[in-house]
């Protein structure tokens, strides 16, 4: 009896490891090893096709002290992130709030708002390229028919990033879904308590909905921040970083350094600096979160 049991245990352990192996190997080969390798490259001067020598932290020093393109791309990315995250979070929250109401055809609305998220990113970027067209694009046609003068959108230094922010509000579907789930988890008895006390709809929203939603807002904030720092497609497909580098997103600059200028070592250092920046930002948000995120039944 005892032996038998341990045989099953043994078999379970064997199969367990066997079945987990593909995932473990995948993580190891496609994540852990490349991460270690990229750190190693970042301390070399490797350019594709050349010998590689270890040069210590020279790449980092060059990036931080001499590289004006790095500064520009970091500025562009930060600008985009600071602009896009609050705008998208607010819009996503409002959409989720509306989708949480009891109206007819709710599932249709939910589908419509989620739909853009399913469209492949490149395809939706192409679509916006047409919308932004200054001469015959839909946006300018609409503005002009209402008597406004059109904009140059992504083709003007001043309006390029705001245009891309506008575009990013289009695909907040995933964030909306998470908000929606959060909204539905807000305990109904709290609302009832406000109602009993004679509170208005606004009071319910301000005193119940928002505090209950802070963990969800926190999660979406972190995810979105990381996402915006990795913006790439817009520059790759729409603007190639132009005009005058006004849309040179950090990751696009990194990609160009690696695959156009063939400087893999330098690009790896760029990648690690990005990692440190995102990690620091995330850490800061986590620190501040203690002050504004409320967990039900937890330490407020």
């Amino acid at each position: 009896m005892k032996r038998n049991k341990s045989g099953i245990l043994r078999m379970e352990r064997k199969w367990g490891i066997l079945l987990a192996l593909p995932a473990m190997l995948g993580l190891l080969m496609f994540t852990v090893v490349p991460v270690i390798a990229s750190f190693f490259f970042s301390i070399t001067d490797w350019r594709i096709g050349n010998e590689m020598t270890v040069i210590g932290f020279d790449n980092y020093a060059t990036i931080l002290t001499e590289d004006s393109t790095f500064t520009k791309s970091l500025y562009v990315t930060t600008y985009y992130s600071l602009f896009s995250v609050p705008v998208c979070l607010t819009i996503a929250f409002l959409i989720a709030f509306l989708l949480n109401q009891k109206v007819k055809g709710l599932s249709i609305f939910r589908t419509i708002f989620y739909l853009p998220t399913i469209v492949p990113s490149i395809a939706s970027t192409m679509l916006w390229l047409w919308l932004f067209n200054p001469d015959f694009g839909l946006l300018n046609s609409m503005l002009e028919s209402m008597g406004f003068s059109g904009s140059r959108w992504i083709y003007d230094e001043a309006t390029a990033i705001p245009s891309i922010v506008l575009m990013s509000t289009w695909s907040v579907g995933n964030t909306v879904i998470i908000f929606l789930a959060g909204l539905q988890a807000v305990p109904a008895h709290l609302y009832e308590a406000v109602e009993v006390d004679g509170g208005s709809g606004w009071r319910k929203f301000y005193h119940i909905t928002i505090p209950s939603m802070t963990p969800t807002i926190f999660f979406n904030l972190v995810m979105m921040l990381i996402g915006t720092f990795q913006a790439f497609n817009q520059a790759y497909v729409m603007t190639q970083g132009g005009p005058n580098n006004s849309t040179l997103f950090y990751v696009y600059y990194l990609f160009r350094t690696a695959f156009t200028e063939t400087k893999i070592g330098y690009a790896s250092a760029l990648a690690w600096i990005l990692f440190l920046i995102v990690m620091t930002l995330t850490f800061i948000i986590f620190q501040t979160s203690k002050k504004w995120v409320h967990y039900e039944g937890g330490n407020k």
Binding site: L25, M29, I48, G49, G242, R256, T260
Partner: protein
């Protein structure tokens, strides 16, 4: 028993990890060690083993190229013909649409290079100077055809060391819509290089061909620069545009020694200022933003959005295929003397190939006008000298609808007597220099700065990247 089994799993795991790590690190070395290359890139193991067989038996080669569907079709039939006529060699063509340089860089990093491939001039120079490309000069005796091409079609990374040859010769010319000229009663652009328009003549013509929505021309009372229906001329923002004009004005990107940034010299500033003026002073050209959103050049001409365009001779193919358009070809206006530049990609043989001789045989075949249709359809111009000098040979590729009568002057004579390699093809580190140059020039194209200011500001960014020039022979 149990322990051993545990260890066995651990061992398997370790081996797999090791395999993963070594696979990566052997790829990481990049193309350092050409001899360790596993031969032609191929996903089929059967082919790899075949390529390891002695060359006398049977040789497999891979050939990688970019291009439109027309080009792909032409390449496929060329490869098929080659394979039929060379029973001991099998070439496998691989068409790469999209981001070609990224693909090549990745293959180089992974040591998976093809034997023969198209390559942009920037990478050709870089890899050529690093010894990654086959030096053709050592095969001149064996393959005399390698050295009877036009001088301007060779790329040298060291004196006498020809690492590549342009796949085809392409020069920048002026195309125009014939009907617009006829209706306006303006003489068409000259096809004879010696009779090229001066810049002022060109601007005058461009003004006559520019019309706002009321039919008024620039300079006339009530001309509405914001609602232009038809532009006289459109041009791109890259070296294809400023390259020939710099040459024509005796200016260059770097100074004569090749060590100093020279785009802010008076001759060079003059060129960029003239181009900026076409857009913002004379109103005969769309600005770069309008341009980016305009259709291809042949459609611009056909829809009468533009009367003249600056483009390469490769555009002949599209122009000919556009049956609704009556077009002509002329030479560019001159600043000091008539000049144009050759701007083309190259085809190279990688040093990592195990079969250089067979690769060269294919190389000579792949751009032989007798084997490839692309010359007669207009996409390519031959590199071999006889196709520019011997009447019979000239006729063999130009006597067709893709080459109008004036092509003999605006195409052949222009290339033979007035075309130089684009200066950018000789500048070391060009891809990096251009990465700084292009955004800087945006300031001129968008009228944010005058040419002088923008080009002065660029000096501090570009000078540190200057590494000299490659030789011309």
């Amino acid at each position: 028993m149990l322990n051993l089994r545990k260890h066995r799993w651990l061992a398997v795991l370790m081996v797999l990890i090791l395999a993963g790590v070594t696979a990566c690190s052997s790829g990481n070395k990049g193309g350092n060690d050409a001899s360790s290359s596993s031969g032609p890139s191929s996903s089929e193991p059967a082919e790899e083993t075949a390529s390891e067989a002695p060359p006398a038996e049977h040789v497999d080669l891979t050939f990688m190229y970019w291009g439109s569907n027309d080009e792909k079709k032409a390449m496929e039939s060329m490869i098929e013909a080659f394979n039929k006529s060379h029973p001991k060699i099998t070439v496998k063509g691989e068409h790469v649409p999209g981001d070609y340089n990224t693909k090549m860089n990745t293959l180089m990093a992974a040591n998976q290079l093809p034997d023969v491939a198209y390559l942009g001039d920037g990478l050709t120079n870089k890899w050529g100077s690093e010894g990654k490309l086959l030096d053709f000069s050592q095969y001149y005796d064996q393959y005399p055809a390698l050295q009877n091409k036009l001088k301007a079609s060779y790329l040298y990374t060291e004196p006498g060391k020809a690492v590549a040859n342009f796949t085809a010769l392409e020069v920048m010319v002026l195309y125009y819509n014939k009907e617009i000229f006829e209706e306006s009663g303006v003489p068409v652009p000259p096809a004879e290089p010696a009779k090229a328009w001066t810049w002022d003549e060109f601007v005058t013509v461009a003004k006559q061909l520019t019309k706002d929505k009321n039919g008024k021309h620039p300079g006339e009372d009530g001309f509405d620069a914001k609602n232009i229906d038809q532009y006289g001329f459109s041009f791109g923002s890259d070296r294809g545009t400023y390259g020939p004009l710099l040459e024509s004005n005796g200016a260059n990107i770097l100074d004569e020694s090749g060590t100093k940034y020279a785009l802010n010299s008076p001759e060079s500033v003059d060129v960029f200022q003239k181009l900026q003026d076409l857009i913002y002073t004379h109103h005969v050209s769309p600005d770069l933003i309008q341009q980016q959103n305009m259709p291809d050049n042949h459609v611009r001409l056909q829809t009468r959005k533009v009367a003249m365009v600056l483009d390469g001779t490769w555009a002949l193919l599209d122009l000919t295929n556009n049956k609704k358009l009556k077009w002509g070809i002329g030479v560019l206006p001159k600043l000091k003397e008539p000049k144009t530049v050759i701007l083309a990609g190259t085809t190279v043989v990688f040093n990592s190939t195990k079969h250089p001789k067979e690769a060269l045989e294919f190389y000579l075949y792949h751009n032989n006008p007798e084997q490839v249709d692309l010359y007669r359809t207009g996409l390519w111009m031959p590199t071999e000298e006889k196709y520019y000098t011997e009447d019979e040979a000239i006729k063999s590729w130009t006597d067709n609808e893709a080459h109008p009568p004036e092509f003999l002057q605006a195409g052949i004579e222009y290339t033979k007597g007035y075309a130089v390699k684009s200066p950018s093809t000789q500048i070391k580190n060009w891809p990096e220099i251009n990465a700084k140059l292009a955004p800087g020039l945006d300031l001129i194209w968008t009228n944010k700065k005058s040419a002088q200011e923008a080009l002065d500001e660029l000096e501090s960014q570009i000078q540190p990247l200057v590494q000299g020039r490659y030789p011309n022979e």
